[in-house]
Symmetry: C2
Subunit: 295 residues, 2 copies
């Protein structure tokens, strides 16, 4: 059976046109090379070289086979390299799901760093409403997701990568719009807009907990999943909200953001399935500052 070894020998021979020197280059002696080439010609049923006493010359078929062999050897070696690269997470695909909010905070930098250090990994980024993210990671739809901390989820590992304080978002003509040093009890009787507890439980908990510290139980009569939506609702005068500070970067007309005294904080986490065997996941987590524990 013809194998890659004979092709390597043939290419070396075709490039030197000299059995002795080709053998030397291959770190073998001349007779095995002669025999391998003879075997190759026999199995192909094709004469590849004309042997003359002083030098050998490729036949037409030999020239063709040389070109093809070079291409085969290159792709063969590449295949082996690729397997090692893929195994090391340096080649392949990585699919990341994230809540919209992350696009304004950690996602851009993290993605840029990972892509720079792993140029051969195809990265798929996909925005998803937060409550679908955990399931999507569990089913394998995503290799990892970036979201507000959902609390412990069975089958998922999570690691905090970012923490930011909440701030108050009010309409520009709201009485609190000009106030400094706003505290929890200043929000008594305000109509609060917040994300549903099932979508972002820790965020909701932070909002509610802050109010309780101010001595009252907040009433939330309007809910929206996305922080950006909540800000828009504030702009429309439908209420006030406690939102992550990074939303200030969004320019929204008629909305004023104010710092809070003893502001609660909200955490971004990366979540992943510990059983996920995509080798590109580990370097991604490393880039996020996470050293996953060995299984």
């Amino acid at each position: 059976m013809i194998d890659i070894l004979q092709m390597r020998y043939f290419v070396a021979l075709a490039e030197t046109l000299h059995f002795g020197r080709a053998a030397e280059r291959l770190h073998i002696s001349q007779p095995p090379l002669s025999r391998q080439i003879a075997n190759l010609e026999k199995e192909l049923g094709v004469r590849l070289l004309e042997r003359h006493t002083r030098q050998a010359a490729l036949t037409y078929a030999g020239r063709r086979f040389l070109e093809d062999s070079r291409a085969v050897l290159a792709s063969f070696d590449q295949a082996c390299r690729n397997a090692r690269l893929a195994d090391g997470g340096d080649l392949g695909e990585l699919s990341i799901g994230f809540m919209m909010h992350a696009a304004h905070t950690v996602l851009p930098g993290l993605t840029r760093r990972f892509m720079a250090s792993h140029p051969q990994v195809q990265v798929e980024l996909r925005e998803v409403v937060p409550n679908a993210l955990a399931d999507a990671v569990l089913t394998g739809r995503f290799d990892a997701a970036i979201m507000f901390n959902p609390g412990p989820v069975r089958g998922l590992d999570a690691h905090a990568i970012f923490r930011e304080p909440l701030c108050l978002a009010v309409h520009a003509r709201h009485p609190l719009a000009g106030r400094e040093g706003i505290q929890a009890h200043d929000l008594v009787d305000e109509r609060l807009i917040a994300a549903p507890a099932d979508v972002a439980p820790t965020l909701r908990e932070a909002v509610v907990g802050f109010c309780r510290l101010g001595g009252f139980e907040p009433t939330v009569r309007l809910e929206a999943q996305l922080q950006q939506t909540i800000v828009s609702l504030v702009a429309e005068g439908l209420g006030i909200a406690l939102v992550p500070q990074s939303l200030r970067k969004m320019g929204v007309a008629d909305v004023v953001f104010r710092d809070l005294q003893e502001a609660p904080t909200i955490e971004h986490v990366v979540v992943w399935r510990p059983g996920n065997l995509n080798p590109a996941l580990r370097p991604f987590l490393s880039e996020a500052g996470i050293v996953p524990r060995q299984k």
Copy 2:
């Protein structure tokens, strides 16, 4: 060393995900397959499959290696087939030089037949002034050439493939334009236009010989290499000419072609270098009706 055999084994295994069935498909028993895969993984330094009791599953790196391996195997097998095809003259390049006149006679049909029976041979056709053709074949510029018979040329084989009578080309207002049964002696005192003897010796010989049979020695005061040029000169009233009959197909205003009694004939030959080892040359010659003698 990793070789093509292990790749074949791996692809079979990856496609069945079952050592026993893959081994069966490869016509070997299961233990050698296990060992070869283990060797492959060891040499790559990469785990390609997760072995579970009930079924195996490819790792990420394994999936990548499967894709690459399929491509490598395909190109490997293709390289072997190509060598055989090239050796048989069914794949490669063939370069044919020809005098312009052949484009009106044998070249189109011959080329069409050869290309139809050898679709994978790249054919290069190149028009050349006739006296350069023999040298171009000798130097290897062309694998073969089609031309008027140049007589014996050292180092070239030649074989006739077409013979056509010459006819008379005269201006439409020439006295001979209306004559039938024109004979050689009717051309006495005419100004003849012909190709130089060094360009097309047999053609020139045919013209001169015909005149001698009519009892006179022709005077040629105007020469041109190409038959088409000669016909144009006839159209301009610069003289008359004996040209191959197939030039009648050219529509040239003011030129009339007349049959000759006992018309001389001119031969097209294919010439080639017997030492030319391009395998595509033999089938080309066969297509031209030539069975080259074995060297």
